[in-house]
């Protein structure tokens, strides 16, 4: 009996080696070996820490020292604190900014995808801020907004009275707008490049046809470009809005969360690293994740019902319409 099973297994392994040598097997080996490293990295640096964080959120713990299991206590605490959800209100500033950002990106992308003198240079210059690290951007804007520095003297040249200018970071009516503007400056270029990529895939014959029909630039944009890149616009919109829920770098570096600029993330950071309530901060992170998932879902549904989903090709839609009319 045992002999038989040994025989069988060796037969199996032989079969396996044979399979490995076949083209199908080789393809599989290549796929597995190429996937292995990125998957390991993804697991080690994303899913493992995430799992740990979810675990932490059920404990009353510091980084060093004993841990005590407290069940859902941390989650209840998050909802009972008044500072956490108040901080989420600041996200509206960043959401508003993300609309401005997308509009600007779309504008520049459309301009630059036609023939423009020095187009490459402009593309590079607009994309450049995205390449600077967030901390450096923070420091740039700290000096930019300092009283009597860059922005003030710039406005001074334009004839503004320095005395009447507000304190960009101190005045609590506008300091969140100042910070959101910094984030627009940084991410606009990235959106623009994505849009340019999408616009490039539009068949140029369509422009020619439109030109023959006497369409102007606005009409070309409205009826050719926008419908064909709807998918990418919707994607960018979703990314920007969910991103604005987790705004962190500008307030953390520029104002340190002072003067009413502490976003949800800044408060989370303080609770975890200064007050050593790691469990509570983890619970906050999990709750934010759920909020973001929920927001994404809502947006998806919204776009599906209002715009009949960004995923659908405009040509398909027209074809459908025509088919209907033909009936």
């Amino acid at each position: 009996m045992s002999e038989l099973s040994v025989h069988k297994s060796s037969g199996k392994s032989k079969g396996f080696i044979k399979w490995l040598k076949s083209s199908k097997g080789q393809r599989a080996t290549v796929v597995v070996t190429f996937m292995f490293i990125p998957l390991v990295l993804l697991f080690v640096f994303t899913y493992l820490p995430f799992g740990k964080m979810v675990e932490f959120s059920f404990f009353n713990m510091k980084y060093i020292g004993k841990r005590e299991f407290v069940g859902l206590r941390n989650y209840i605490d998050v909802f009972q604190r008044d500072d956490c959800f108040k901080a989420l209100k600041l996200s509206f500033y960043y959401m508003g900014a993300s609309f401005v950002q997308l509009a600007l990106a779309l504008y520049f992308a459309t301009l630059l995808s036609f023939k423009v003198k020095g187009g490459g240079l402009f593309k590079g210059m607009l994309f450049f801020p995205y390449l600077i690290c967030g901390i450096a951007v923070g420091f740039i804007f700290k000096f930019f907004y300092t009283r009597g520095f860059v922005l003030d003297s710039l406005l001074g040249f334009l004839g503004f009275d320095l005395e009447k200018l507000p304190y960009w970071l101190k005045d609590m009516r506008i300091n969140n707008i100042s910070l959101a503007a910094a984030s627009v400056w940084r991410y606009m270029g990235q959106n623009m490049v994505l849009f340019i990529g999408a616009i490039m895939s539009v068949d140029s014959e369509m422009y020619e046809a439109a030109a023959l029909d006497g369409a102007n630039y606005w009409q070309k944009f409205r009826y050719i470009i926008l419908p064909s890149i709807k998918t990418i616009v919707v994607l960018n919109l979703i990314l920007s809005i969910t991103g604005s829920l987790s705004a962190f770098e500008p307030p953390y570096v520029i104002t340190g969360g002072n003067f009413g600029t502490g976003t949800y993330f800044v408060i989370m950071d303080r609770i975890a690293h200064q007050n050593m309530k790691v469990g509570l901060a983890s619970a906050m992170a999990v709750i934010l994740l759920i909020i973001i998932l929920f927001a994404t879902l809502l947006q998806k549904m919204f776009f599906r019902y209002v715009f009949n989903d960004g995923n659908e090709d405009s040509s398909k839609k027209i074809a459908k319409k025509m088919a209907k009319e033909a009936k």
Binding site: I64, F143, L169, N258, R270, N275
Partner: protein, 469 residues
């Protein structure tokens, strides 16, 4: 396009290769470390009990042929390439076999807390204040018994637990106020202020009579706001038991006292100075590196910082002699006091190999006794009987108050309450920054702010069942 692709793939290849090489290297060092440990393990116990305590070691006589490479984590990014490099050279004249690698971090405080959760963060670090006392034996090597070390060094209270010392201070600081003598002269100030209201009057005079900023808050740097907490103990009460016992067991410890002492008086200075417009125009855009030159040139009147700051301000320009130091303006029964305490403490990794532990101990002893580090930095030397730097001459007649340790069994109480209440004395700038913010916007009085703190503090005391006296 093809060229770009080629270049890209070449770049990727390089990155991969480098990261692979990096991995290999790390493994190697780990292996050698393990070997060392196992070699040692054959002979005597590799337990820390065989280690000589720091007071028994004789520099230049013991362990002359020891060979080790130790890693030193530090917060002083500004000194690594200059002063510390020089120290290594000097130290290696006595111990040529010991190699020291410094690693400095700008965001040291947050970094180190997380890194300490692993075993192999290095050999020596500056112990952060976030560590609870009962965790010290699990993380750091003991330098010796407290009673015997007390004869050699001062300020050992902060990182001692159950009569063992786990941290040796790098330098001590006295808490006072940095000021510019010329600005004071120009403003017509002849007498040093001794009470909060005197001090505010002085600031007002500076504002009226000179162009200087009376008090520079350094608000934007955040940690400079945390520095205000250093004054609420010794400087504000004259009581060495206040921080670890008075605050822990105190009923509403932040409330106003009739004689204008205690924590309230300290924050009162900040609140009133801000409300009366005696600080800089826009606190959100202050510049820490820039302020050093400004006070040196007489553009700033005063700054509330520990004595460690004085040397830096003096060296920031040509008018070093103009920089003076004075005690915090609070008078208790006719006498002035100043909080004195250790700066960061050195700690040695309990998981390091035996050689590295010994080498670390030797280097720390050398730093404390031979390097003159504390004196050169304008701090209080830790070695008993060492000479005090000139900066502190302004403190003649002022009693230096060093905090007493907490009562036995209550070592963790202060951290417990401090974290639970989320006030974060000496840890977090948030509560101090709030004082300035509310003073500026005028939406909360100082009494309302401290009432809020008292409520949080009391709630935390109650949670841990701490007796309130």
């Amino acid at each position: 396009m093809k060229l770009v692709k080629k270049v890209l793939s070449l770049g990727l290849l390089c990155i991969l290769a480098v990261s692979l090489v990096g991995c290999g290297d790390k493994k190697k060092t780990v292996d050698t470390e393990k070997e060392q440990v196992s070699e040692k393990g054959d002979g005597a116990d590799s337990n820390s009990s065989t280690l000589k305590t720091i007071d028994q070691i004789k520099l230049g006589e013991d362990y002359k042929d020891i060979k080790a490479t130790i890693k030193f984590l530090t917060n002083r990014t500004d000194l690594v390439d200059t002063i510390f490099a020089d120290y290594i050279k000097k130290f290696q004249k006595i111990y040529p076999g010991i190699n020291i690698e410094y690693e400095a971090a700008t965001d040291y405080f947050e970094d180190i807390t997380i890194r300490l959760t692993t075993d192999n963060w290095g050999d020596i670090c500056m112990i952060p204040t976030t560590i609870d006392k009962n965790e010290l034996p699990n993380l750091f090597v003991s330098f010796g018994d407290k009673p015997s070390l007390d004869k050699e060094y001062i300020m050992l209270n902060n990182f001692s637990y159950q009569d063992k010392v786990y941290g040796i201070p790098s330098t001590g600081t006295a808490q006072g106020i940095v000021y510019n003598k010329k600005v004071f002269e120009k403003a017509g100030i002849t007498e040093m202020p001794r009470t909060p209201d005197d001090f505010l009057a002085v600031l007002q005079k500076i504002k009226d009579n000179t162009d200087a900023i009376p008090m520079y808050s350094n608000f934007a740097a955040n940690w400079t706001m945390t520095a205000w907490d250093a004054y609420i103990g010794g400087s504000a009460t004259g009581d060495p038991d206040f921080m670890n016992n008075g605050l822990v067991h105190g009923k509403n410890p932040f409330s106003k006292r009739d004689d204008m002492t205690g924590p309230y008086a300290v924050y009162y200075v900040l609140y009133e100075a801000t409300a009366r417009g005696l600080i800089e125009d826009d606190p959100t855009t202050t510049d820490w590196e820039g302020c050093k030159g400004m006070i040196n040139n007489g553009e700033i009147g005063t700054m509330v910082l520990g004595s460690w700051a004085v040397t830096q301000m003096q060296e920031a320009g040509e008018n070093g002699d103009d920089i003076g130091y004075m005690p915090f303006p609070i008078t208790i029964n006719g006498k002035q006091y100043a909080t004195a305490g250790p700066d960061y403490n050195y700690g040695i990794n309990i998981n390091s190999s035996e050689e590295n532990k010994i080498a670390s101990m030797l280097y720390i002893k050398w730093l404390t006794e031979e390097s003159n580090f504390a004196y050169d930095q304008g701090g209080i030397p830790i070695k008993v009987g060492a000479e005090y730097p000139d900066v502190l001459s302004a403190f003649d007649g002022v009693d230096l108050v060093i905090d007493n340790p907490a009562a036995p069994g209550e070592e963790t109480f202060f951290n417990d309450i401090n974290n639970e209440s989320e006030i974060g004395l000496n840890v977090d700038n948030y509560h101090v920054s709030q004082v300035l913010e509310h003073a500026l916007t005028g939406d909360m009085t100082l009494d309302e702010i401290v009432a809020d703190w008292n409520a949080k503090w009391s709630k935390a005391q109650e949670k841990f069942g701490i007796k309130v006296r």
